[in-house]
């Protein structure tokens, strides 16, 4: 079969024709290149239609899914003749009268060019995210620009232009846009006490690219105490201390717990080698805690009269003895069961030791608050002729008592002569021949006064019951009292009783906080006292009532602390560092730094 194929291509109004001849028994049309007549449009099947000739009749046959229409009618097979019009997918085929030498002739035209429909569809279909207008580049620029503007440029401009002002008194900070921008740079939570000016960065950060100056701190903290006494000879460490600034040990933006950097390294920098760098220092070297920390040294009074104190190491077999100038025995007071005959119950620690406000330590013990209730009777000399009603001698000024007694007898002499009072004789056991009324009155007054003072300062039931005198071996030299009192001036006040120097802290270099150990019993640490409270009066003997001896103190050694406290990195013990027990700024050493003298 010889078929003449004419391909028509329209370009605007022009029609281009391209003719060729195909010779085959069966002519197939389709997208496949094996077809006798390949049709290149994508919409047409690989094998779409076949044209055959049988008995001079032409027949078309649908081969695939591509719709075939002959003269508008969908068909699978149909006989065709010149003049018939065939729609094969997007192609229009038309049979014409065959020229000479041909069995058939037909023209083929792509009547529904893909271009229109396809291009339109492709145009409508926004496939891929880039087609939606999203742009990685644009959003990258916008995002990065916004971050730089909001979090870099604006804060710097606000700071540089002085818009972020330092905190001012009576001008509370409000959280506005400026403050929000400033706080965007905040590197961490503020300490609670500084939060009220947290947004006023310039209160502390006066200049950029430098640390916070001491000046900023001292604007408020001008009373901050020194670390060492101004007279201490610590060699080069004094300069080192002077050169260190507040931020060396204090750091803000570290959370509500505060600004103190409690790292032991800061203290150990100097304290680990004090004996080398500051040989005149009284302190021992410390290389850490618990290992490397020296044994505690209790400060005890060795001579209350002078006075003299010394630091004695704890933890030895023989505990340090305190001599505060008082004949006092804890054991005698804590005796189990108390003193029923006198109607006194057993004393407990809290009967005499009252916590300070805040609970750190205890209020000083004194006669009026802690002793008088039971020991008033030691100062009552009933029947004795004394200036006070019922012979009740007041507790207090020794010079005053001497003067009062002397004046009492002087007044009596002035009124009508001094006689030896029988009662006084009886009470004091003073015998001897009767005094002559004609004797020198001044001498007589002195005699009477001295006799009375011997009674008052008696060691069995007078002042000497608890106190030591200034005489030899703690005796009271009553003969010396009258002339000494007579010569007393406002500036020079004689003392006949050794001053009492009760300490409320035996480890004054540390700040043991009793309130933070309130869950414990006193005896957990003060074990000697706890043991004493278990001794009944019957087995107590006559240890101290008549011959009191200075008693050992009961302050626990470092081993008691290290049972619960570990170093700063401790995990299974309480993490403790230098400042857990010690204070850096010591009020007793004066102001550390004058705000006007601060250069950095």
């Amino acid at each position: 079969m010889e078929v003449e194929i004419t391909t028509l291509t329209r370009r605007g109004t022009a029609i281009m024709r391209r003719a060729n001849r195909v010779s085959a028994d069966r002519i197939e049309f389709g997208r496949g290149t094996g077809n006798e007549v390949p049709l290149t449009d994508i919409r047409i099947g690989l094998d779409a239609m076949a044209l055959t000739r049988s008995d001079g009749r032409l027949t078309v046959q649908k081969l695939g899914a591509t719709p075939l229409r002959v003269n508008g009618q969908p068909v699978d097979t149909a006989a065709v003749a010149p003049g018939d019009k065939i729609e094969l997918g997007p192609y229009h085929l038309e049979f014409r009268a065959p020229p000479e030498g041909s069995d058939a002739a037909l023209s083929i035209e792509l009547s529904q060019p893909l271009g229109d429909a396809f291009d339109r569809l492709r145009h409508q279909s926004r496939i891929g995210l880039q087609a939606t207008g999203l742009s990685k580049r644009t959003s990258a620029w916008v995002g990065a620009g916004a971050v730089v503007l909001l979090f870099l440029i604006i804060p710097i401009v606000l700071y540089g232009a002085g818009i972020i002002s330092p905190w001012q008194k009576d001008k509370p900070t409000r959280l506005g846009a400026v403050q929000m921008a400033a706080l965007a740079w905040n590197i961490g939570d503020f300490s609670n006490s500084h939060r009220f000016f947290a947004a006023n960065c310039t209160s502390c950060h006066e200049k950029s690219f430098t640390t916070v100056a001491d000046r900023s701190c001292l604007a408020c903290h001008d009373k901050t105490a020194n670390h060492i006494t101004p007279a201490a000879d610590v060699g080069p460490l004094r300069t080192r201390l002077a050169d260190s600034s507040c931020v060396h040990c204090h750091e803000e933006h570290r959370g509500v717990r505060g600004t103190i950097i409690r790292s032991e390294g800061l203290c150990l920098d100097c304290h680990r080698s004090l004996t080398e760098t500051a040989p005149k220092s009284v302190y021992h070297d410390v290389r850490g805690f618990p290992n490397g920390h020296p044994q505690f040294r209790a400060t005890v009074v060795t001579d209350a009269a002078t006075p003299r104190v010394e630091r004695v190491e704890l933890g030895r077999d023989t505990p340090p003895v305190d001599r505060p100038g008082l004949k006092f025995s804890h054991a005698a007071h804590l005796v189990k069961g108390g003193f029923p005959k006198l109607g006194y119950k057993q004393l407990a620690c809290a009967d005499c030791h009252h916590a300070e406000p805040g609970g750190l330590g205890f209020q000083p013990v004194n006669f009026a608050a802690n002793c008088q209730t039971c020991h008033q009777r030691e100062l009552v000399f009933e029947g004795a002729e004394l200036p006070w009603p019922k012979g009740q001698v007041p507790h207090g000024s020794d010079t005053g008592i001497v003067s009062a007694v002397w004046n009492f007898y002087a007044a009596k002499a002035f009124q009508g002569g001094v006689v030896q009072p029988a009662a006084l004789r009886r009470a004091a056991g003073i015998g001897g021949p009767p005094q002559s009324d004609q004797a020198n009155p001044q001498e007589l007054i002195a005699q009477k006064t001295q006799a009375a003072l011997g009674l008052i300062f008696d060691e069995q039931r007078g002042c000497g019951y608890c106190h030591y005198g200034n005489g030899a071996k703690g005796a009271f030299d009553t003969a010396r009292m009258i002339p000494a009192a007579a010569n007393a001036t406002d500036d020079k006040h004689p003392a006949f009783v050794v001053p009492v120097r009760l300490q409320s802290r035996f480890l004054p270099q540390a700040q043991f906080d009793h309130s933070r150990h309130a869950a414990m019993q006193c005896g957990d640490c003060h074990q000697r006292r706890a043991a004493e409270a278990e001794v009944p009066l019957s087995s107590f003997g006559q240890v101290s009532l008549n011959q009191p001896v200075p008693e050992p103190i009961d302050i626990p050694a470092i081993e008691k602390c290290t049972g619960c406290h570990g170093g700063q990195g401790a995990v299974v013990r309480a993490a403790s560092t230098c400042t857990t027990c010690h204070k850096f700024h010591r009020q007793e050493f004066g102001v550390m730094r004058e705000s006007t003298a601060v250069g950095h």
Partner: protein
């Protein structure tokens, strides 16, 4: 010179070229990443400042510098990775390093923070970094999951071919709908005119096209067919078949679009947020240095 030619020229054998970036070089970069993470962890544990760890201790500074260095390097790496010109066969190697060291960065930077977060530029930088890493991880997930699904769904057709077929179906529908009643013909015409493929990012990602005109036309013709005169039954059936074919193609191409969008979308987070992160990192570093807070603490 094609990429494969370049790879060949660089002496990279075929097996190596086709190795996944995840297993590249016997997990070489995974090992490096583990080493980095382990070193960071040791540094973090060894440094025990009193009062808690944070970015301002000596270990914190080391981790911070390492983290910042990694961020800049990974960004540069990501940028260079796009360039095929200069690969010399290192594409897989680069991608492997980018992925594993990017994951290691999460550990380094997290330890740098000391787990201290707040409403500030520093935590912003960290949050952006986490977002970048998370989007990258999602990217790895999509690269592992969607190519196989795409192949399965496409059935050897390209997007171009699918669209061509739909366009052809549209043409056929337009012709075939001629004998239909006006209402149905209008529905078919609408289906032809409004062929929704792609569109907004959400449509592309979800693959859901509510109000699809083809679906509406199918519903319309199903109703119309009940009362159609016998002589037109075939015409209706023809259009119905065409619409069914179009719906099947639409489902295919929409699913394809959705897969493609899933494989692309992470980059629209990964890349812009990386640049926002670089900006935040700059602000973070400048703000810290601006008020050098204190000496490094031991």
């Amino acid at each position: 010179m094609s990429v494969s030619d370049q790879l060949a020229a660089a002496g990279v054998n075929r097996t190596e070229r086709h190795q996944s970036f995840l297993v590249y070089g016997g997990f070489f970069y995974l090992k490096i990443a583990f080493a980095v993470m382990l070193a960071s962890l040791i540094l973090y544990i060894v440094d025990r400042p009193y009062g808690g760890r944070y970015g301002g201790t000596w270990a914190g500074y080391i981790l911070g510098i390492a983290g910042a260095g990694l961020i800049v390097w990974l960004t540069w790496f990501g940028y260079r990775k796009r360039s095929y010109v200069d690969l010399h066969g290192r594409l897989v190697s680069r991608l492997s390093a980018h992925v594993y060291l990017g994951l290691a960065l999460l550990v380094v930077a997290t330890l740098h923070t000391g787990f201290e977060f707040g409403w500030n530029v520093h935590t912003l930088a960290y949050a952006l970094m986490v977002l970048v890493i998370a989007s990258g991880v999602f990217g790895i997930f999509t690269y592992g999951r969607y190519p196989a699904l795409m192949t399965e769904n496409r059935g050897n057709l390209t997007t171009h071919e699918m669209l061509s077929r739909i366009a052809g179906l549209n043409d056929e529908l337009r012709n075939a709908a001629v004998p239909l009643d006006d209402a149905t013909a209008t529905l078919v015409e609408r289906a032809v005119e409004t062929t929704d493929v792609g569109g907004s990012p959400w449509r592309q990602l979800s693959g859901k096209y509510p109000g699809c005109a083809t679906e509406a036309a199918l519903a319309g013709i199903a109703t119309a067919e009940r009362n159609v005169p016998p002589e037109l039954e075939e015409a209706y059936r023809g259009v119905h078949v065409l619409l069914d074919n179009k719906r099947a193609l639409l489902r295919q191409i929409r699913l394809d679009t959705s897969y493609k969008a899933m494989m692309e979308v992470w980059l629209y987070v990964h890349v812009p947020v990386t640049f926002a992160l670089l900006a935040a990192l700059l602000a973070h570093v400048v703000s810290v240095l601006f008020f050098i807070p204190v000496a490094i603490r031991g």
